[in-house]
Amino acid sequence: MPRASDDPAVRARFDVVEQLLARGEVRRALDVAKDLHKACGSPETEALLVRVYRARIEEMLRLGMPNEAKALVDLVQERYPASRAACAEVQERVVVRSGNAQCPLARLAAPDLPGEEREHIEAFIRRSITDPRQVADFAGLPATHPLRVEAAAVVRALDAVTSRTVTDADLALPEVSRHSPFAPWKFLVRAVAHFHARQDDECRKCLAAIAFDSAPARLTPVLHGLIEGRAPANAAPAAAKLVVAVTGDTSRLRQALANLDAAFRSGRQRAVMDAIAEAVRECRRQRPELLDRLRQHISACAMVVDIPAESVRNAMGGASVKDAYFWRLFARAAEKRAETEGWVELFGACSGWEEFRRHAVHQGWFGAGGAEEAAVCLHMADLLAPLPLREYEVERDEMVRGLKKCGGMASYYRPSEHQPPSVMACVPPAPPETYFLYPEQIFGRACHATPSPELFRRWLDWAKANDQGDRAADDVAEAWHTACPTDPRPLLVLTENAEARDALGKALKYLTAAEELDGMNVEVRRARPRLLVATALRHLRKKQHHLVEKDLAELGESSQMAEGDWPALIEALRWAAHAIPSCANCVDWGMERLVAAAGDRLTATYLVHLVAHESKAFGLDNAVCDRLLSADVESAAFLRAAARARLLCEAMHLRFGMPEPWADALPAAVRCGDGNLSEAQLRALAGFVLGCGTTDSSASPRRMASTGYCLAGYGLKRPDADHARFLFLRGKSLLIEDARAPQRGLECLRAARMLAARRRDMVLVEEALDVERRYRYLVRNGSEPRGATGDHLNLMSAEQLQRVLATERESTEFPVVPAPAPARGVRQPARSAAAPPPKPEADRRQGVLPGLEELDNGQNELGDADDTGDDAEVDDELDEDEDLAFLDDDFVFGAGIDDDDEGPAPDMPPAILNVYLRLVAKYGEEKADRLLSMPDALARKEPKLLEELMWAFEELGLGGGGFMPPEPRRGKRK
């Protein structure tokens, strides 16, 4: 017999019912199922109708209509008797929900209840009882009935885990056996307990252990949703309410906080106040535990944007708690304010950090006098150290007076602030502390808290950088020595300070103490010969020649003096002790012995010159110079002598440079080759020529830069050399004065830092950083920084580093910027017809330098000495380029100054002429011209004249201060 559902039309209506049920449209599904059953009347359609009725009854239970559900279940069972079995389970639930669970429970009291029926009732309890109180409070059973006892235990445990923190004893439930109909409740109780203890994994395990057909299992999706922090899909209203009640709903708070951010951004005070009130209200309602934090952040934020604290407090409905967290925010906010309002705000930041320090110790964030306290102090010192000293001192004194007058931060602890007792227990002392405004006192505290060499070194650096005088540096070193009595470094500092003051006796005393502590220390070992030589030189200067022999004897006893060039230096001193009291004609005395010690005549003569110069025996000095430089010298020997002398000078901390002709000869000698110099000699020589202001030469900085560039290149080509150092020197050469390839120079410095950091050479890292910062500062501001911080300190990748190294190894020519085309008919400077012809190629190959006479007569330039043909032309271009160096500046001063070769234009405004003439009077015509072409240099050398010039430009109505695009160099002026 064909079934009704075999008919496609009927099948389609079956599918419609299923789809409606799946979508939760139970009532419509019921209508369709009724029509279908009316039309077909088959057992299949009846089964479908009963299933839909069951769904409708369950929906009624969910919607809180237990009586209606009971009526419907009775009707269905009456009308369709075959459905009784199918409706049994839902009928039980209807019975329980309509409060009629007593009916089956009451039968448990019957003494002759068959075992089968008991099992049936217990299954009913397991499946349908959703409130154990129905059993626990059921009067139809005796109070001692096991089910009532078990139900009461479950109720107590469930009440405990949902109302308070519980112990393991609360969860034990020994009354409930694992065969009891209440056994699933034990797992539910434990799951809730783990949920509140945030033991989510354990909670999930307990939920998995609940029998799937038991009543408590219906809560499993809800608990999973609670763990995730959201209600499960299609949750009943009570379940959704439970989720919100337990986990809270922060969506409105989030919105309020977003509004607050927007209000602060808008800058409208009224909007800010409204948003504060709303955010505080929502926070109090949804996350009350965060209210204090929110108030503290609002206070700090309002401070940064300068909204009155009183208004903010009113909007918040109370003051923020002034604990360590608040003061840290306060200090950071003041630091932010300093970025826009000026560095004076940093005083407020330091006050905030001091309050933070006190409260943090009080609250136990960290202990008193520990590394954390030192870190706070150092942070304050870092804030104050770079400030301009003069202005800083004036503002600081005013701040100190103000603090003392108003009692410091006492206003934050007034009774009207309603601070909690924990905060009031940490009220600032009266009179208020002010140490945090004095870097030296801050450093002192930090070093007292953590007496580490690094901290003392930073303190010392600050004292030196801020020109605090010798006494201040000595005080720091003394404090360091007291704190670390076994460390020789403070004694070395004291030694060097005394040496710098020419207090050599005292220096030797400190050095002896350092030697007793650590005689093997490299710095200590280096110091003694240096001091002894300095003593001998001082005796020579003071004409106490009889004491020199004693010094020399002492020097001879020193083991270090037997190494390197020190024996030659001793001989040079011995020579000076004899020659100085005699006469300039006695320069030959002892020279042979000295030459033997030095290894060559040139070095020996250079050492004699050095000693004569340092002894201030200038007559002798000149005589030696004449002898020394009167003959042609092989460039390699010249380089070696110069480098050895430089190394000795470095070891003796002497600033002595080179005789001027030597310095002039150096570039040409360097271009002939590296002279087989050692790595240390290359480094010393390059460091010397790139050390601005330390040469005695009149050679231009750019000539010296190109020489340093070349020397650094020799070092870079050596496979085992310290490439970091040579990259640093190369970078420095590219950034000197009128930098030709600044980007390349900066890349070299970064590569040097990276290589140095790999070798933990932090001194070189700092040096490279310092050069980079200074260059950037000069580019931006035109003057030297004082503790300025760089902002482009990023390193590079390994590939970039290799690329820079390869590029610099290959680049042998100092970058030259082509001279611009001549304009307005100005003649192009050219080599004079009277200039001597280029030296023969043969001379260049042999690397021979000219004699001194040629130099003095000005017949040749050492820089050109080895140039012939094309090379000579290149050098000519270099010279021209040097003459036209000012053209490479972005702008020159030119307004109002005529290009006429015959001096200032007759119509030159008097104000400008006045400045120009004063410059000429002070610096000479050529240098005055150069200064006028380099605003930065003029700003450094003559700031007042620059200001006058600017005023003159303003008065003339020349926008931009009279700056003009570059123009070719003017001719000679008279």
């Binding site: 959703t130 109302s163 809270g248």
Partner: protein, 102 residues
Amino acid sequence: MKTQTSNEDPWAVLGIALDASDADIRAAYLAGVKRHPPDRDPDAFERIRDAYERIREPSRRISLMLLQVDPMAPFVSLLDAAGPAPRRLVGMPAWLDALKEA
């Protein structure tokens, strides 16, 4: 994929006090990674490891303690940094109502 953990308070992530010693910090870290091994709970493991890395060294820890707060940070970050809301104890009736209607 690295999780966004930089805003979280590392002390809170590890469940330790601000004055916890080096040993306490390490113990909390080990306990955390034992509870959340990388193969089973990579996100939590990442959070714990990140928190530990940030406060393991005393110098970094102190710097973080001083400078981790930003007064101009969005206020919503307060909620994120505070972590999930506490689970409130709402009493038995609410739970039984949910069960009854489930």
